[in-house]
Symmetry: C2
Subunit: 296 residues, 2 copies
């Protein structure tokens, strides 16, 4: 009866795992019921439909992700950094679903830089899971994505983080800018040389507002094949992101994710001389379990 139900309720998907006493995944489920598909007030019903049967066998369910946002089940206020397992556990937002067992929503994190707030929601659980997986208390991490997050962890607590809209900028430039006229419509296979060329040009350039234009001129002057341009542009935006990280040579960076995008970050980090450690998926369940363990 010490089973734990771990949920990752994001914008577009609802995923869940049943974990046993030892944290092993007994079963997983996934539903196309991201919070954008759930009307206000309908969250308890969707939860019951998707996971009600599991709650008969678990005394606790923790939910990470956008379910705690303004558009989610209930708004779970951000937990201010520095924040670790205990800080987050103490700010869980408990909800009522008219069923047995406790259901808590994991708060996101917030921080201020020069009077400007930054936020994450869901990534904090992945970060904690990676720390748990690797038995680390100090780390520098990147979570690549539409909005990449860079985080610094000291003594088991997230002490700093920043958001970079890298994936979104790539998509905007790729599909909606003047560059879209030059780039092939279909996505060609990754070209590692062109990607590296983009990373290097960004690292030495005066910023993406300028370097993005080189995607056009290199095509205009026939210096890059059309099929290489998407990889080059991807290198430009990821290189721009890395440029602002002030990484030390051979500094270890944990890349959370095992997909093609994480592989690109690994290549780019190698160019700037960092040591890359890729951490595959599954860290969300570990993070939720680590938070749950502080409650028991």
């Amino acid at each position: 009866m010490n089973r734990l139900l771990a949920l990752d309720w994001g914008s577009s998907a609802l995923r869940g795992a049943m974990l046993d006493d030892g944290g092993n995944v007994l079963e997983e489920r996934s539903f196309p019921r991201g919070i954008l598909t759930v009307a206000a007030g309908e969250f308890p019903a969707v939860f019951r439909t998707c996971f009600g049967d599991w709650m008969a066998h678990a005394d606790l369910c923790l939910i990470a992700g956008m379910a705690g946002s303004q558009q989610g089940w209930v708004e779970a206020p951000y937990c201010a950094c520095p924040a670790g397992f205990h800080d987050i556990a103490s700010q869980l937002m408990w909800v009522d679903w008219n069923g047995p067992g406790r259901v808590g929503i994991v708060p996101g994190l917030s921080i201020e830089h020069a009077g400007v707030p930054d936020v994450m929601r869901g990534e904090e659980t992945q970060i904690l899971g990676a720390l748990e997986l690797l038995s680390l208390a100090d780390a520098r991490l990147v979570l690549p994505g539409t909005h990449s997050k860079w985080a610094s962890v000291e003594g088991g607590r997230v002490v700093d983080f920043s958001t970079f809209m890298t994936g979104e900028f790539y998509a905007l430039l790729r599909r909606h800018s003047i560059l879209a006229r030059t780039l092939p419509e279909a996505e060609p296979p990754m070209e590692h040389a062109a990607f590296g060329q983009g990373v290097r040009h960004a690292l030495g350039g005066p910023g993406l507002l300028n370097t993005a234009f080189s995607t056009r001129t290199l095509a205009l002057f026939k210096r890059l094949e059309s099929v290489a341009l998407p990889s080059y542009l991807s290198g430009l935006v990821i290189g721009e992101e890395l440029k602002s990280q002030a990484l030390q040579p051979r500094q270890t960076v944990l890349v959370l994710g095992a997909d093609a995008l994480a592989a690109r970050y690994a290549q780019a980090l190698d160019i700037v001389g960092a040591t890359v450690q890729q951490v595959s998926a599954g860290v969300t369940w570990r993070g939720i379990r680590a938070i749950a363990n502080t409650l028991r």
Copy 2:
């Protein structure tokens, strides 16, 4: 019979002016016949329809702008920097329109930075016109726009320039990014304080990939009113552009343009401590006349 026909044939508009011996504008015309509306091979006919009557009274017509691009009347190869009046005049691309008088297309400029080309087409004529207007041989200039151009002039020749896709990035973020959900759909009046806040945040921040996200978080935390967000975002992108210019305190920067956008650049340049000199429109005709004078 020493009248000069000066044309600015851009992507979306065709403008022309008849200049007398002294360079005074006798008459101006404008047509919605940008090169994007003209099929290949139809350029001489459009020219005849719009300006054939004027050519009976002029012995020379020079055309600046996209008419010299691959999609234009005929491709006028870029003139490599450093380039001044004589360099450009010697590379005019003469075309045949089956009528009296000579018709030449002004070439754009090209330059290489770290093996990557940059180009301009049309702006070179405005720059030369501003030099002529102000009797300057040395200057630092910015031509704000969808693709801003920064240029350095020494001894009457453009020795360096760079393109910044600032206006386009603003439009992409304003209309197509996640920020569009937070920003008001209609364009509210300019908010100078919010604009300045954006400029300052960009100047001190780790790059636009990060600072753009603050448009969302400042709204999320109710630190900026919705109506101030477009001005703030505009300040972010223009501040990002200025950040990479390494301007000296009290350095004079010529801002070519007298519109609302040029006024924003003036405000941003004032924040970085530069001395602004705004140069109003009409410089294209002066530039064309200066090029023509080297031929006579």
